[in-house]
């Protein structure tokens, strides 16, 4: 018997992973949640059939979305994380002693419940006393806050399901308002490679550029996401992602990472020409 998980990356391209066992399959109020075990990627989580994370490659995503802004901001104490019900971003953030308060806003409590039970590798740190979970719409939460956070991390799903509202101009504008005067927002920024992902990527960039003084994009290589070439957005009121990188300060923290380092930090902002052109088109 062979059991395969397949995700269509486009209408005519798909990625398939051989599955040992399906552990969870349920429908929450917002989406379908599935967990599988596989030989190659270990345990993995999908939402509405889209790959969210695998035990094997999640470190790349979570390190890159967290350490890049943390190495730039001189003292991020209050952090807002939107989405991220799997706990991966929280795990990385709680490694910083100077972080005093983390608000986690996840629309689907069921995702957190399932991840706590089945994905302890990422959902390890919800019990940290600095973490305050809220189960509600991210757009609604952020609308009610002003001048409060040093850093906002938007760890959203794709803009076609429950995450749609997190790719809108009103959301980015509300994030701007919720940040302090030197605040930074980092977001999951889709991929430049396949056409429909690239359209979403350009649209997100355009809307962020309209809201923030500094808006740059950086990349990482994530094998289980469509095309493997994935982008993150770095939007900021004051700090520049490269000029304000304090490498020695970050290295002095002695955090052990598997993907991120301060040289790669700089390199990640140097983008292929075709991506530069796409971004330039909407700036």
């Amino acid at each position: 018997m062979e059991l395969w998980f397949s995700e269509k990356h486009t209408e005519t391209v798909k990625l398939s992973i051989k599955v040992d066992k399906q552990l969870v399959s349920l429908q929450s109020d917002f989406q379908r949640i599935d967990i599988f075990d596989s030989q190659e990627f270990g345990r993995f989580l999908t939402l509405d059939g889209y790959m969210m994370l695998t035990e094997k490659d999640e470190f790349i995503y979570h390190e890159m979305i967290t350490h890049v802004p943390m190495a730039v901001h001189p003292n991020a104490r209050r952090v807002l994380v939107i989405g991220a019900g799997d706990g991966g971003v929280i795990r990385e953030l709680t490694r910083y002693k100077n972080v005093e308060h983390i608000d986690l806003v996840e629309i689907d409590e069921m995702v957190v419940k399932i991840c706590k039970e089945y994905l302890p590798q990422t959902a390890c740190c919800f019990d940290d006393p600095r973490v305050h979970p809220y189960y509600e719409d991210g757009l609604k939460f952020v609308r009610k806050h002003e001048n409060e956070y040093d850093l906002i991390i938007v760890d959203s799903t794709d803009p076609f399901g429950p995450g749609e509202g997190l790719f809108t101009k009103e959301f980015y504008g509300n994030c701007y308002k919720a940040l302090k005067e030197d605040g930074i927002m980092v977001n999951q920024h889709e991929s430049p490679f396949y056409t429909s992902d690239a359209i979403a990527m350009k649209r997100a960039h355009k809307r962020i550029v309209e809201s923030f003084a500094i808006s740059r994009v950086y990349q990482a290589h994530i094998p289980t996401y469509p095309s493997g070439h994935w982008l993150f957005g770095f939007a900021s009121k004051k700090y520049h992602p490269i000029h304000d990188l304090n490498a020695s300060r970050w290295n002095a923290l002695g955090l052990k990472t598997s993907y991120y380092n301060t040289n790669l930090h700089k390199g990640a902002f140097y983008l292929p020409n075709y991506v530069q052109e796409m971004l330039h088109d909407v700036e």
Partner: protein, 505 residues
């Protein structure tokens, strides 16, 4: 066919069935839908119109609209009945609709609610008859007066100064108009208004009937009153003789489909003849089936549907009022007369304290935030909320309004407030429309009599109607509305730089 006769019988025996369960069991039927399903299975060879032959002759259209849609875009025939002379499935559908709405008779309308409004006016008015109505009616009402030559007796609506919107009809003013025009044949009320304002429908109906006048209700924005709970009174319950119920607005049917409802004292056979004067003889089965299916849905699930809509809108109102400067109004406006009741499913928001005209907020929402709302006028916006909406989308609207205030808030100095200018009627709409006319530049038209309509669309309430005097105030209003970006329609000159006026003697 036996099934169809059964359906009709189900509707007919309604008088004997007071029981809610029996009533609902009838409403589970959808005779037009069922006839179309049966028709599809017959696999008839089509040597009749439409020429696309179930879509096979127009591949591009079939690709775009879908094969299922094209296979039921068919002509009237024996097993599908005929809209102009219904005897089987359409008749059964109309009877079920009448039962669902509590009307004596219901007509399927396929030329828009405009055709329903015109049919009810043409059914009771002829040339020279007087009809009492508020001036802030939809253009379709005055269009009907152009067609039949009736004389409008306008009641000026009350204005809410703070919001700059026209309200309902005051009972005392209706009474005054009736006393001054005892020969009038009908009273027409638009209820609710686009903004959700309701008049005292029951008292106005009683007053009209006491003076032997027909009571006509333009209920284009009130279809849900018939199916929701704790909503304002509907026209049929209030005892009105006619209602134009725009099923495609809150009822969920396809655009251009609508119902004309008649009370017990109306000669429905005459109304059918009037409808057939202007109605297409090729009634679209897409529209007819959408009416049939939507009627069934509302009859069976309407309470829950509009309960959910009300909750969504209440939530949005609370959050929007919390942002500051915006005013999403509701029942607190009720004053027992010109605002006798308020339709809480309407999300009407005053924007003047943000320093932006409603139309400016409307444009920002669309251009900057990819949110399309129903309309924006000088001081208000209306977001249409229905069963198809979710909290997710409501959050986007609230979030965007909050951002617009943060980024675009201005001082409100110089904001025009009034949405309504009292018209000066010189001659009937028909006279005004058909007289000899000439074209003048906008500025030079002051003092002349207008020969055409001028309105912002939506909402489609005329600023000028044929036969009305053009004043300086009106021209300034037109220029202001154009300047703020309102979509102006009506005149021959699409740019509205010139107006057609009556050629003087």
């Amino acid at each position: 066919m036996s099934k169809l006769i059964g359906d009709a019988a189900c509707a007919k025996s309604e008088g004997e069935k007071n029981n809610e369960t029996d009533r609902l069991s009838c409403q589970t039927e959808a005779p037009i839908l069922e006839a179309l399903e049966e028709f599809k299975q017959m696999r008839l060879v089509p040597f009749d119109v439409p020429g696309h032959k179930r879509g096979k002759g127009n591949k591009e259209l079939t690709e775009f609209l879908g094969e299922k849609c094209l296979t039921v875009d068919v002509n009237s025939m024996k097993q599908l009945d005929n809209l102009c002379h219904p005897i089987s499935c359409i008749k059964a559908g109309e009877e079920l609709a009448a039962m669902a709405f509590g009307a004596a008779h219901a007509f399927f309308m396929v030329n828009g609610t405009t055709s329903a409004v015109q049919a009810m006016i043409l059914s009771v008015c002829k040339r020279g008859d007087k009809i009492i109505l508020p001036r802030n009616v939809h253009r379709s009402v005055i269009n009907a007066l152009v067609l039949c030559g009736a004389i409008p007796v306008y009641i000026n609506p009350q204005i809410n100064e703070r919001l700059g919107i026209a309200l309902g009809m005051k009972l005392s003013e209706v009474e005054e108009a009736i006393n001054a025009n005892p020969d009038a044949v009908a009273v027409l009320v638009n209820n609710p208004t686009y903004y959700g304002i309701c008049s005292n429908l029951k008292a106005i109906t009683q007053l009209a009937h006491a003076h032997n006048m027909f009571m006509l209700v333009d209920e284009a924005h009130g279809t849900h009153f018939y199916f929701g709970e704790n909503l304002p009174i509907d026209a049929m319950t209030a005892g009105a003789d006619f209602s134009s119920a725009s099923m495609h607005k809150s009822g969920g049917s396809l655009t251009q489909s609508s119902f004309l409802l008649c009370g017990a004292n109306v000669n429905a056979k005459h109304v059918r003849q009037v409808i057939n004067l202007t109605q297409t003889t090729s009634g679209s089965y897409l529209l007819l089936s959408s009416l049939d299916i939507s009627r069934r849905n509302l009859a069976l699930h309407g309470k829950q549907i509009f309960h959910d809509v009300e909750n969504l809108v209440e939530y949005a109102r609370k959050e929007i009022n919390h942002i500051g400067d915006y005013y999403a109004y509701s029942k607190e406006l009720i004053n027992g007369d010109s605002i006798y009741d308020f339709d809480v499913t309407k999300l009407s928001i005053n924007t003047l304290d943000v320093g932006l005209a409603g139309i400016e907020v409307y444009a920002l929402l669309r251009d900057e935030y990819d949110i399309q709302i129903e309309f924006g006028d000088i001081g208000n916006i209306l977001a249409y909320v229905s069963v198809g909406d979710s909290y997710k989308n409501i959050e986007r609207l609230i979030g965007a309004l909050s951002e617009i205030r943060r980024l675009y808030k201005k001082s409100r100095v110089g904001m025009l407030r009034h949405e309504y200018i009292t018209p000066q009627v010189v001659t009937t709409p028909q006279e005004g429309f058909y007289s000899e006319k000439m074209s003048l530049p906008l500025e030079e038209s002051v003092g002349h009599i207008c020969a055409e309509f001028v309105m912002c669309y939506p909402p489609g309430i005329p600023i000028l109607a044929p036969g009305e005097a053009i004043t300086k105030e009106i021209i300034e209003y037109i220029k202001y509305a154009k300047d703020k970006g309102c979509s102006m329609t009506g005149p021959e000159d699409m740019e509205i730089n010139r107006l057609n006026v009556l050629r003087g003697d």
